[in-house]
Symmetry: C4
Subunit: 251 residues, 4 copies
């Protein structure tokens, strides 16, 4: 074996890329992750599956073989790092965060082979395949900046989430109070009205549930106006957090 483990380790390691950018091998892996995710999306469309019944399972197998190879390779070369040396070190690596994400992106394939029905379980496994995309986070400096920005304002963000929840419950109760007599099915209980409250407070407004009484419209108007405030607060917090995070990085 003429390729040295140390060279491979240097190629696969990510510590250096803050200075030098991603190595060629890591770029290829990023592209493969994007491709595999794209295939996983197209695979859900029955019309495309009907066109070529063998294409998608074959592609899935190819991707999984490659990802297993990458996983084993990482497991092999990580021994270069003193922290992960030996059998106990390897086990420590297997249970590290990004290694678990790598494993979770491979496992759904094998579960998918065992599952025979075409319903909820299969769709859940396909969602598991999408976890591959989160693997990209490992390669991105921006991800670290993002999570740090969110952490630095977590207190304010939780407060605004709490306020939003309170407003959500309160407006649901008000609409239930006003509309339950006139629309007993759609507005017949607070949990049912919650769906309406979420879509109104976020100003989405599908229109599948609409108040028809005067009192209901009055409460709904107040809810919609309050929704502006509920949007304004995290908008301001997030905007300030990102502005700070990017200014720090420039310095």
């Amino acid at each position: 074996m003429n390729i040295k483990r140390a060279d491979l380790y240097r190629e696969l390691a990510l510590e250096a890329h803050l200075r030098q950018g991603l190595s060629a091998i890591n770029r290829v892996i990023c592209v493969l992750i994007l491709l595999a995710s794209f295939v996983a999306i197209l695979e859900t469309e029955p019309m495309l599956r009907a066109l070529s019944p063998r294409l998608f399972p074959t592609l899935e197998t190819v991707f999984v073989v490659i990802f297993i190879g990458e996983y084993l390779l990482r497991l092999y070369v990580v021994g270069e790092d003193p922290h992960y040396r030996g059998v106990r070190g390897r086990l420590r690596y297997v249970f590290s965060f990004w290694a678990l994400v790598d494993l979770l992106a491979i496992l759904p394939y094998f579960l998918g082979i065992m599952v025979q029905d075409n319903g909820f379980l299969l769709r859940l496994l396909r969602l598991g395949l999408m976890l591959r995309l989160t693997r990209l986070g490992r390669f991105s400096q921006a991800w670290a900046a993002l999570t740090e920005a969110l952490k630095s304002r977590s207190h304010e963000l939780w407060l605004s989430v709490g306020l939003a929840m309170l407003l959500l419950l309160f407006s649901s109760f008000c609409l239930y109070l006003a509309e339950a007599s006139d629309q007993p099915v759609a507005f017949g209980s607070v949990p049912r009205v919650l769906w309406w409250s979420v879509t109104t407070l976020t100003t989405v407004g599908y229109g599948d549930m609409v108040p028809i009484t005067g009192l209901g419209k009055f409460f709904a108007g107040l809810t919609a106006v309050a929704g502006i405030g509920i949007i304004a607060i995290p908008t301001g917090i997030l905007a300030a957090a990102f502005s700070d995070a990017f200014q720090k990085k420039q310095k």
Copy 2:
């Protein structure tokens, strides 16, 4: 009685928690308030009530007994505070803001027993039960920071509310002008069009009322664009107020 009133007072008092966090007893009360609110929400769902007709009334009774106990306990130990000592001091406490909120969270239960119909009045009482959630405000430093932030910009916020009201009336009049002939029921008077204006200015847009004439669509387009400004102004004010409030607290 071997538990001293002073110890209990120290446990229940909130003055100290700015430094030390909530005491164990206050944490239990917070969890009970959240639980009782959750039960009050589920109770409105007829399907859940049908599953177990006795469960919700029993739970309500348990919560009310606990909250009455808490109320009486607070009334007893508050005598430790020189300001609330003696009978006149206790009366002063009963009419203090948070004590009234505590009382309002208990009363709807007893009214609910007397009410026999299953309509508007019962739903109103259930809304009263939700007032419990505002009791959480007592335990939160963030609540104080929030209300202070809003107060410091109240002048600007009232101005933007005034502007929004003016725009609301003006756009309602314009749509009434344009659409009343073609949609005499939905757009037949300014008060009826107000509902449309609120949902458009807040960019909710349910689609239950939509202009169909060219002039109406033109005015509606202007309203939607104006809505962006109406959202932008309080967003900016609130974002700045919260940013200031949290920066102050960090110092």
Copy 3:
């Protein structure tokens, strides 16, 4: 006549109120304007008009008589101001901005008496009555602050309006390109698609016109995403302008 013109002038004049607040007489006028506007709104509701056919015309007459009195009084006392002394000065006052607004708030009443039909023209005159509300602007310092803030950023605001118009036209053309074959009535020409574009770019989204082709949905998705940018730009500009304006005032 024992009330001196100079005293009345001092009561009606607005120059002093920046320091001392509104005088009693000006406060009464503000309340009357709000009342008259509220009556003008309720008057449009046929159900309320049917309840009491004589009430609203009587109220309108009362308000107009009061506003004519106010107008004549202002015309009389304005002679105290050297700038508006004599007949030529009075004419100059009549054609000043706020005096014209006052006149425009009175005239629709007399036109309304002459109009006999119950359609578009009458509604247009009722809209004229709403101009009364803009008279409140005279009494508000905030109005001046607001218009100044907008003026100071007018260049940026016009640029963002220009950008929004360009995007509006471009997305209308794209949707017309994609959907005209499949929905020839709703998306049959660019002017018809403009309505869809406005409601999408402002994220109102009524749902009365929705693309059904793949290409149309792709363009519509891009339009909706672009709408976020279109909202973000004036939001930032307005928020900054108001923040500056209020900070200046505090100093």
Copy 4:
């Protein structure tokens, strides 16, 4: 020929207008571009075409003749600039960015004459006519400021676009998971659900596709709330970028 090329060059050149504003001839061209675009929009409306079948083709011919004249004139006078002197210089000018835009605004007319069908191809050519509007960018300093502002924050903007794409895919998968059994046509595959996700994350919310299961509504609520964050991040970035760009220009 008594008009000198140098004078004409000075009239048509844009370098000077940063100091002196647009020359008379360039203002006329701007107005003509706006007029031609307005005509191109109205031309798509079949009702207007039916009113006067010869009007729009005639107007189009007039505009194209003028724009060809402008193009040739620019090509002639650009020789004043040493960089574009001689035949090779002229060729260099023809392939410069703005000269290509000018050409692209003329070509669709000639293609339109050759196309006989009234469908997709003709609408595509009409969209080409709209490219004229982008020619206005040449005359605007603001355009340069805008593109520079966007470039200075391109890293942050791409990051937020990437995040939005990830969220889009993830929420599409979740809704597909929850709703595919109950609404097999509308939510039958991830690509179909993408349309729903875009309209929800941007808070447009048409209401043509709405989740009906409890799990679907739960995921949809989370998507709508996440949409607020997705809007907040570019809003903050764009607002800061524009604020910086305009402050720089003022200095």
